[in-house]
Symmetry: C2
Subunit: 294 residues, 2 copies
């Protein structure tokens, strides 16, 4: 049995049209007909019903079931290709969401440099959700991910290394600047400048607004914490970020939240369950664990 056949099949499931699938793969239409026939013979099942009357292609239960497995197999192959290509290049792709890249990675990089393995690391930036998928499809081998709940996925292994509360940052000229701690509900009338690229902050923020029954007035969303901090300093609005972002500015004040049951920013080291660590990769992971878990 040929993998191509599964590829054709998989595409036919999506496209529901033999000729178009053929075009997608730059082969002629009978090729697809034959491929499906081979699969139908191999699995001894009808995979599609050719409904000429309504001119549509119906996927049988057997077809649906096979589609699930075909998908897994094709993904597994893709991951294999990517993983082996990383191995060949002697590097490891480390996924980093922007916040983690800015505030945790420098420490890690220094350690990796000392051990002479920094050159084997290739970073891949992206939001937490996107990186999770990049891990799954083999684009990344390891990722440091932020989340509000402990991560638990079928194909990934996560090891938590830090928990940080979320804080409120206001301008030094802001009336609340004199305070050290506040309740989230006190922010009902404030304007917010928020972080947009990371889904995690939004999740946490939305939880809190919902729990406190208000619709926040979000005046701006930025992808970079420095931009946000500058806007906060200018008193354009207040923001909601993790404490690690603090960074000794004197034009911005950090306020702790007093609410019970606050969401926390959980940081984890995540890998694929199927990923086999080389000795070099094990050292990288050890450095990550050592540096990040204090």
């Amino acid at each position: 049995m040929n993998i191509n056949d599964l590829d054709y099949f998989n595409q036919l499931i999506k496209r529901k049209n033999f000729s178009k699938v053929a075009a997608d793969f730059n082969v002629t239409q009978p090729t697809i007909t034959m491929a499906i026939k081979r699969l139908e013979r191999e699995f001894n099942a009808t995979l599609f019903l050719r409904d000429r009357v309504h001119n549509e292609l119906i996927v049988t239960p057997s077809g649906e079931q096979l589609a699930v497995h075909a998908q897994t197999i094709l993904n597994e192959l893709q991951v294999a290709h990517r993983e082996l290509s990383h191995l060949a290049d002697q590097h490891m792709v480390l996924g980093l969401p922007p916040i983690i890249e800015t505030y945790y990675f420098p420490k890690v990089a220094a350690q990796l440099q000392q051990q002479g393995i920094l050159e084997n690391i290739q970073t891949l930036a992206g939001g937490s959700v996107w990186l999770r998928n990049a891990l799954r499809d083999g684009q990344a081998d390891v990722a440091l991910l932020g989340s509000t709940e402990p991560l638990a996925y079928r194909t990934l292994v996560a090891e938590e290394f830090d928990r940080q509360p979320f804080n409120i940052f206001v301008s030094a000229q802001h009336p609340l600047a004199a305070r050290k701690r506040i309740y989230f509900s006190e922010l009902k009338r404030e304007k917010f400048v928020l972080f947009n690229s990371s889904f995690v902050h939004n999740t946490a923020f939305n939880k809190l607004t919902r729990r406190n029954h208000f619709r926040p007035d979000v005046v701006f969303q930025a992808a970079d914490t420095h931009v946000i901090m500058n806007l906060v300093a200018e008193n354009v609005g207040v923001t909601f970020l993790t404490g690690i972002v603090d960074q000794h500015r004197n034009d911005v004040v950090r306020l702790e939240l007093l609410d019970d049951e606050q969401p926390t920013f959980i940081s984890s080291i995540v890998t694929r369950t199927s990923h086999v660590l080389t000795p070099m990769q094990q050292r990288v992971i050890q450095v990550l664990q050592g540096t990040l878990e204090e």
Copy 2:
């Protein structure tokens, strides 16, 4: 790329010998050489080092990594074959460990019969551990499994439907027969007749003996609860089983355990995450849920 190549590769990983793999598949030796070459070209990596000096075959890191994926892919295909074969025969294989088969299944079967779908069920008997693997490799489509901890596996979905405490059963002539409840530690000097085929009972039993610091005197292990009960009635020993086994005998007395933190016998309906339910299979699951969850 051909699945056969992965099959050859997978076997070579196990056997570490080209000629033997060739023999295993009834092909000639150059076939294996070529297959590995094709994979090495396809993945642009060396998969094995042929160490002529020590006359052994060394698997490279790339080889190790590919092996993991090859295994997954081959398993996925095997599952697909089995699942589609069940679909073709219009049946569903239901795995049942002996205890569950005896004490829960009759109720279920009656309901399934009423709905006219009993004939579509094929049961598969086996211990919990064995059935878990049967689910994973597609031999079974659904299983009712017993466990002492909630089931959580990567490739399986479990839905709990019952929790039962474990009980002690003694002969009506036994000194303890007058009691209703006892502490497990009071059984230090007893002889035990235990259930052997189900790993779950042993796990729970061992937990308790360990916690109470004694080495139990196990005089016999049987695969059938009736045998055990008969031995208990004859006062050969006492036993440790779930309450459902009770079955109105007057020569045997059931004692509840007074210990805090007792292990419980958790029963769950388990399926593969990758399994697509047909309408008929959905009805079966509904009957299972309806009947078993009261």
